[in-house]
Amino acid sequence: MGIGTVLLLIVAAGVLGTVGLYNGLIRKRVETENAWSQIDVQLKRRHDLIPNLVETVKGYAGHESKTLEAVISARNHAVTASAADPATRIAAENALSGTLKSLFALSESYPDLKANQNFLALQEELSSTENRIGFSRQHYNDSVGVYNAAIQSFPANLLAGSFNFKPATFYQLAEAEKQAVQEAPRVSF
C-alpha cells in the first residue's frame, strides 16, 4: 500500500467522522426544536378544552361567575400571549393554571357536577393535558441538556463553533412552581 493510499484513507476517515458528528449534532438540535413545538401543541390543546369545561360547569354552578370569568379571561389572555415572547407567555400560562386549579377546587362542592359524565371526561382530558404540558417541558429540557452537553464536548465543540451551533436555553418554571418540581434523579450503575 503506497503512502498516497494511506493518506487518502486517513482523509476519508476524517471526512466520514466529521459528517457523522455533524449529523449527530443536527439530530440533537432538531430534537430540541421538536420538543419545543410539542409544548405549543399541548398548550393549544388546553386552550381548546377550556370553553367546553366552562360551559359544562355553568350548567351546575352558574352563580360562581367570578371564578368562571377568571378562567375565561386567563384563557383568552394566554391565547393572545401565544404570539408574544416566551417570558410573557409562560406568565400567562401559569396564571391560567392557577385559575383552573380554583375551578376544580370549586367543583368539589357540587356533587351533581362531579357526577356528570361530561364533566368527568373533561376533567380527565384537562388533567392529562396538564401532565402533557409538564412532560413536554421536561422532555424539552432533557433534550436541551443532551444537545448542550454534545456541543460542548470534544471533538464536537470544534465543529459546533465553526457551524454555529448555539447552546439552547432551558424552559424555566415560575419560582413557586420550581419548588414543587423534583430535581431529575441522578442515575448511576
Binding site: 392529562s128 412532560f135 413536554s136 422532555h139 441538556g145 452537553a149 450503575f189
Partner: protein, 316 residues
C-alpha cells in the same frame, strides 16, 4: 459546564448491546438451521451426499430466513395473539390512552399501540421491533388494581424497554423460543401417535418413525438452547434500567414502588403467559409471593425487594 450524568452512556451501551445481541441471535439460529438442514438428508438417505447436504442447508437457511423476516415484522402481532391480547379502542378507556400518550411525550417517541389482556392478574409488557413499531399490553387486572400514578409508573417502565431496544431482543427471543417449543411439541406428538401405527405397518412406518425420532431428539437437545435464549434476553440490568427509565420519565419513584409491591403480592397467576413469553412481563407472571423475593439464576426477573431497593436509592 453542564455535568452530564453517567446515565446516557449506560443507556447507549445497553442499546448497542441489545441490537448486537438481536442480530447475533438471528445469525446463530440461522446457523443452527443450516446445520440441521445439512444433517437431516444424511439421516434420511442413509448415506453422505455433499449435494444433498448443501441443498438441505440452503433450503433450511431460506426457510429460517423467511421465518426470521416474519418474526421481525410480524413478531409483535404474534406475541400479542399468543398472549390473548386485543387492541384497545381509545374511546373505551380514555385514562389508559391518556397515560400512554403522556409518557410518550415525556420519552419523546410516538405513542405505541395499546392492547388489553382479559385477565385479573395485574401485569404488563411491551414488544415490537423499534420505538416506531412498538406495542404495550396491559391486563384488565392491572387497570382495576392500580391508581393513575401507579399505572403511569408501570407504563413508563414499559417505555423504558421500548426506548432501550429491549423490545427487539425480547420479541425475537419470544418468537424463536416459541417456534422451538412448538416444533419440539409437534415431533414428540408425531412420534407418540406414529408409534402404534408403525408396529402394524413396519416397512413404511419404520422409516418415518426414525426420522421423527431423530428430529425429536435433536429438538430435545435444543431445549437447553431455549433456556439459554430466554436467559440471553433476560438480564437483571435490563429490568433495573427500565425501572430507572420509569423514574426518569415520571420523576416519581413512589408510584413505581407501590405498583411493584401491588403487582408482586397479587396471588392470581396470569393464564396467558408461557415459557416463551414470561420474560416480557414487568413482574414474573408465574413466580408469585414467596418466590418473588428469591434470587436465583433461573428466575427471569430480579427479586422485587432488590428492585425496590434500587429505586429508593435513586431518591438520594
Amino acid at each position: 459546564m453542564n455535568q452530564p450524568t453517567l446515565a446516557p452512556a449506560t443507556f447507549q451501551t445497553l442499546i448497542a448491546a441489545n441490537k448486537r445481541r438481536s442480530g447475533f441471535l438471528v445469525v446463530a439460529m440461522l446457523g443452527l438451521a443450516a446445520l440441521a438442514g445439512a444433517v437431516i438428508p444424511t439421516a434420511l438417505l442413509g448415506q453422505v451426499s455433499p449435494a444433498a447436504m448443501i441443498g438441505g442447508a440452503l433450503l433450511a437457511v431460506a426457510l429460517g430466513g423467511f421465518g426470521a423476516l416474519i418474526g421481525y415484522y410480524k413478531g409483535a402481532s404474534i406475541v400479542m395473539a399468543v398472549s390473548g391480547a386485543t387492541p384497545l379502542n381509545p374511546a373505551d378507556d380514555r385514562e389508559l390512552q391518556n397515560v400512554v400518550e403522556e409518557i410518550a411525550i415525556a420519552a419523546g417517541v410516538a405513542p405505541p399501540k395499546i392492547y388489553l389482556i382479559d385477565d385479573s392478574a395485574p401485569n404488563a409488557f411491551a414488544t415490537g421491533r423499534d420505538p416506531r413499531h412498538a406495542a404495550i399490553a396491559v391486563t384488565t387486572g392491572l387497570r382495576s388494581k392500580l391508581n393513575r400514578e401507579e399505572l403511569q409508573a408501570v407504563i413508563a417502565h414499559e417505555f423504558g424497554h421500548i426506548v432501550n431496544y429491549d423490545i427487539r431482543l425480547m420479541m425475537i427471543t419470544a418468537v424463536l423460543a416459541g417456534a422451538i417449543v412448538l416444533l419440539c411439541d409437534f415431533f414428540w406428538r408425531a412420534l407418540r401417535f406414529g408409534g402404534p401405527r408403525g408396529r402394524s405397518d413396519r416397512k413404511s412406518g419404520g422409516a418415518a418413525q426414525v426420522v421423527f425420532l431423530v428430529l425429536a431428539l435433536a429438538l430435545a437437545l435444543l431445549a437447553p438452547v431455549v433456556a439459554k435464549l430466554v436467559q440471553l434476553a433476560v438480564s437483571r440490568q435490563r429490568e433495573f434500567l427500565a425501572d430507572a427509565t420509569s423514574v426518569r420519565l415520571t420523576r416519581n419513584p413512589n408510584g413505581l414502588v407501590t405498583a411493584l409491591l401491588k403487582l408482586s403480592s397479587d396471588p392470581d397467576p396470569l393464564e396467558a403467559a408461557n415459557r416463551a413469553t414470561e420474560h416480557l412481563y414487568i413482574v414474573s407472571p408465574t413466580r408469585k409471593l414467596t418466590d418473588a423475593n428469591r434470587d436465583s439464576i433461573w428466575s427471569t426477573h430480579p427479586p422485587i425487594n432488590k428492585r425496590i431497593q434500587r429505586i429508593r436509592a435513586l431518591l438520594d
